[in-house]
């Protein structure tokens, strides 16, 4: 939508060509209703997959094969994944879905959808390292709530994507294991920290993916990779199973190749979770801010062809002055202004607003995030799980396990956070940052 010029793709965008192309949208059997009416399936891969499966135009196994083949072909160039699921297991799950469809049984709304999961989100059946050497080979005994919800809805986990160690970074170069390339230009970074998740969707190695966002880790790589990234409101999605970086800011986010896919994915994973005390109990809001009885983002979907010429007529949008002020890069500035113009064309009324505390956000973020991370990463001590340095002595065991296990970016943030929380500095740093945080809320 934005007027940014995207680089030419190094890799072709459509792995499913010849299989799903030009499948007309068809009404479905009454036994398996799909909750949409006028929305064209070709704007959502998830809906398109569902249509194809239910109409027997495509089997889940075929679909899985096509993605796995593409993954196999592209992965050596991009390095999105720290762990790829066993193809046999993926195909077995796909076969189960096909069998269910064959028997006319109910399948979940995400049946056959291949999702990639950022490696700092726990998955029971595969390694979850958070991109850190200290957790190399660690396999959690449980699924994160978000992952569990996706699986319950029929999604198939295709692998664990690369990230900056524990989400600390914005290039995916801070991973302990590999560097992920941008699918549009292999010489560039995909952004981060959810670079692997963004790149894998961009390269069509999976349909959608989960990432995590603490300070832009979903939004920025989505932008870098030309996919849709969504950072939900804090508390909307359960954090249970997300390796904590900064607990009060961490959010599990969604990547998709369309707004529709991202919305469907968010709908699937959001909602209160009894395992996360900070997850919101409020009913989900629809995007027009009316409390929805049926919390379904997809109900708001409209086919592009049925839109009026000015579909956003009546919507008032604030343009934050501080984001286009002096000091902002001219490229960024022009992109924001381009977007503003575009919104006006769609019928919005733009109004410039000022947020005086805007500039405080970043320093406050760094204090809060590093403080919380210094605490959250304390559990990686080599005692109960993960890599353990061999040592004769307890303090040396801690020191060496952590010295060898953490990368330099993580160590720096732990040091910063420890400093900010130390007696005598707490009031000057953490407390003030927290005040800013309350102010911004």
């Amino acid at each position: 939508m934005l007027s940014t010029i995207q680089p030419p793709r190094y890799l072709s965008r459509f792995p499913l060509r010849g299989r799903t192309k030009s499948r007309p949208f068809q009404s479905l059997s009454s036994a398996q209703p799909v909750t949409k009416t006028s929305f064209a399936a070709d704007q959502s891969q998830i809906l398109s997959i569902r249509d194809s499966l239910l109409n027997r135009h495509l089997s889940a196994v075929e679909l899985a094969h096509s993605y796995l083949d593409r993954l196999k072909q592209t992965e050596p160039h991009i390095n999105c994944f720290l762990h790829v699921s066993d193809p046999d297991k993926v195909l077995k799950q796909a076969q189960d879905i096909d069998d269910k469809i064959e028997r006319n049984e109910e399948v979940g709304p995400l049946a056959g959808v291949l999702v990639a999961i950022k490696d700092n989100i726990c998955t029971a059946d595969m390694p979850s390292t958070g991109g850190s050497y200290i957790l190399e080979g660690y396999r959690p005994p449980f699924d994160a709530t978000a992952v569990k919800r996706l699986k319950d809805l029929g999604a198939i986990v295709v692998g664990k994507t690369n990230l900056d160690e524990f989400g600390m970074g914005s290039t995916t170069e801070a991973s302990a294991f590999k560097v992920t390339a941008n699918p549009w230009d292999l010489s560039r970074v995909p952004g981060g920290s959810s670079g692997g998740s963004a790149a894998s969707v961009s390269a069509r190695q999976c349909v959608v993916s989960l990432g995590s966002d603490t300070g832009g880790s979903v939004r920025q790589p989505a932008s870098f990779c030309g996919v849709v990234g969504l950072k939900p409101t804090y508390g909307r999605v359960s954090r249970f199973g997300l390796m904590a970086y900064a607990s009060s800011l961490d959010v599990i986010g969604c990547f998709g190749s369309s707004v529709a896919d991202t919305g469907i994915l968010l709908h699937a994973i959001s909602g209160h979770d009894s395992l996360d005390a900070t997850s919101s109990k409020r009913v989900k809001c629809s995007f027009n801010l009316k409390l929805a009885e049926v919390p379904d983002f997809t109900s708001q979907f409209t086919s592009a062809s049925s839109l009026k010429s000015r579909p956003l007529e009546g919507l008032r949008v604030g343009l934050i002055r501080e984001t286009v002020d002096a000091g902002v890069d001219s490229g960024v500035k022009s992109a924001i202004e381009g977007a503003a113009t575009h919104l006006e064309q769609l019928g919005c009324v733009l109004k410039e607003v000022s947020l005086p505390s805007f500039s405080l956000g970043l320093p406050a973020y760094y204090i809060l995030a590093s403080s919380e991370s210094s605490s959250n990463l304390s559990r990686y001590d080599g005692v109960r799980y993960g890599n353990q340095a061999s040592s004769d002595e307890l303090n040396a065991l801690y020191e060496e396990s952590r010295a060898k296990g953490f990368g330099s970016e993580v160590k720096m943030r732990i040091l910063m956070g420890t400093y900010a929380l130390s007696a005598g500095y707490y009031d000057a740093y953490y407390k003030r940052a927290q005040q800013v945080s309350f102010l911004l809320q």
Binding site: S247, T278, E372, Y380, D381, R384, S391, E393, L394, L397
Partner: protein
Amino acid sequence: MASTLFRTIQIHPFLLYPTALFSRRNGVLYCTMKSSQTQTATQEKQQPPKVKVPQHALKKTVDKITKDYEAIIGIETHVQLSTLTKAFCSCPYNYGSQPNTSICPICMGLPGALPVLNSKVIEFAVKLGLALNCKLSLNSKFDRKQYFYPDLPKGYQISQFDIPIATGGYVDLDLPLEFGGGHRKFGITRVHMEEDAGKLLHSGNGDYSQEITSLTSIYIYCFDLLLIDTVGYLLQVDLNRAGVPLLEIVSEPDIRTGIEAAEYAAELQRVVRYLGISNGNMQEGSLRCDVNVSIRPVGQSEFGTKVNSLLKLDLWFNTSCRFKYHHSQGTDRRMHFSITFIEQSKSMELVEFSVSDTDNLIPYLQALLHGQGQSDQIVQETRLWEEGAQKTVTMRKKEGLSDYRYFPEPDLPEVILTQEYVDSISNSLPELPEVKRRRYEKMGLSMQDVLFLANDMNVAEYFDATLSSGADIKLAANWIMGDIAAYMKNEKLSINDIKLTPQELAELIASIKSGTISGKIGKEIADPVEIGKMIDKVISENPKQLEQYRGGKTKLQGFFSGQFRFDFAGLRPLMVTPPARKVMVVADPAPHSAAALQYALSHALLEQDELILLHVENTSSWKNTLTTFLKRPTIASAANAMTPNNSSGPDWGSTDVNFLDQMKYASEIAQPKIPVRIEKIDPDGKDKATVILSKSKDLGIDLIIIGQKRSLSSAILG
């Protein structure tokens, strides 16, 4: 550090005793606690100065110190809450279960796991806060307290820092009379919620190898165990206790003596038991006390640097004694309590030192008193109560204030209490010990009685129930503190185990009071006829109970036993010039009967008496237990003469032996002058107790002795 360790062992050889666990713990701490070089140097310098002080001079010095200095004691108490599940996950906690069998990703601190607060913890905290007269914070929060230790899985403990749930309360207590008595009120600084840590298992010898094997096999998540091989020891973590909810109660430094400290802890134990929020068992670690002691010159208002001593205040008496020695007898060898002094002369600069035994104490005190402040020898330390040696030992030296880097726990929302919630809990609180004591006091009971009755919640409940059944206050108190307490003590029972119900006790007291049964029955014992009358009386006065008992209400056994025990209570001491009596022992081939006979022979029978062995026939069911009687060691003293080579004795080997003959024979050997008669009686379908009583009446029996057995015999004598 090596020298430190060496020194410790040299001075405290008990470190090697009793288990490797303990010595290991010290070892680990010595090895692992980061200690600066200067501290080591301090340690080395802390050798007793080579000053020979004459004995009488020491005594004088100590007297002066105890007169001029006072102890300032504050206590931090951790109470483990008896919630069904842990504080932040759904794991149950049962003390003593196999290591790592009650754990989950949350209490193991696995990546991605989040805490969710158990609402019972809040409820219990509010209860305790109210019970300790605290002000509750309607808006409080949790914080993280951060430090590294293998028993702390997350690297931080979820606790409450600057806004505890309850603050500014007090606890009232009454000191035991044997320690001078008196009422005390100690301030409570705060009560806050937190989670417990796991336990370290130390293995140096075979003692723990079994636990380690089971640990390995039971460990459900297949993670690497902590294996630290230092000097041949194995250190492992049991996380069962990790995440168990605790309430920490911090007292004001109002406590001045060991007795007060012990009573403060005892009162907290009572309060948590009355509230039902913890079992308060110290042996299980459900109640733990950290005692902070410093000593200052009398009249000074600043406190010295504290010595934190983890004391297992298990045996109140021991503790009290220890504190007492500490306070009054600085030289007592059993008193190895560390003491911190502050010296006033250096204005605001606090000078303190600690000594770990009395050899060091005296010269240091002298040094202090003579103004030669040896500030370089002053160490703040944490000391551990050592059960085996009954004293404290150095656990770790502190370099100063630890920085726990507290900050608000972002994974948990704020704790918000509504006034209605607090009120509803406030209205549901039980009567607390202090209120109970004041109520008992108002009833006119002496402080001795008040403390006895109110100190144990179950005794207090029993007493209250007896009163509510209409019993006289003083008589009920006397009965409970006298006969019932003695019975409980002898039988090692709690008051909940005895069969006499409070209602029955109340009836008994009522009948004594109304004169139907005289409390001074001993005086009438001189007339043998009275005995029979008395038994008749007990039975006939209580036809309802007898009927109920016959109807199978076994609880009434306790009623009758109570009646008879009482009736016979005054008997023996009055037998100064007794007439010839008929003493009946109910005989059957069971050990308790043998014991009864032995008792009769050794205690009850006098020369002119006649012994009647009464057997209620029901032989078929008893035949098999015959050998038990023969083997019973308690008969041995009576049967000493019955050596196997005594050919004149009955045939012991036969299974068809008449045990009555054996008993008769044993009696004749033990008390040759006493005639022994055997009586058999056929119950004829009647209740055994009734048969015995009617028979004794027929025979004009003066004294019945029946062996203790939980079942039938207790129906008569208890």
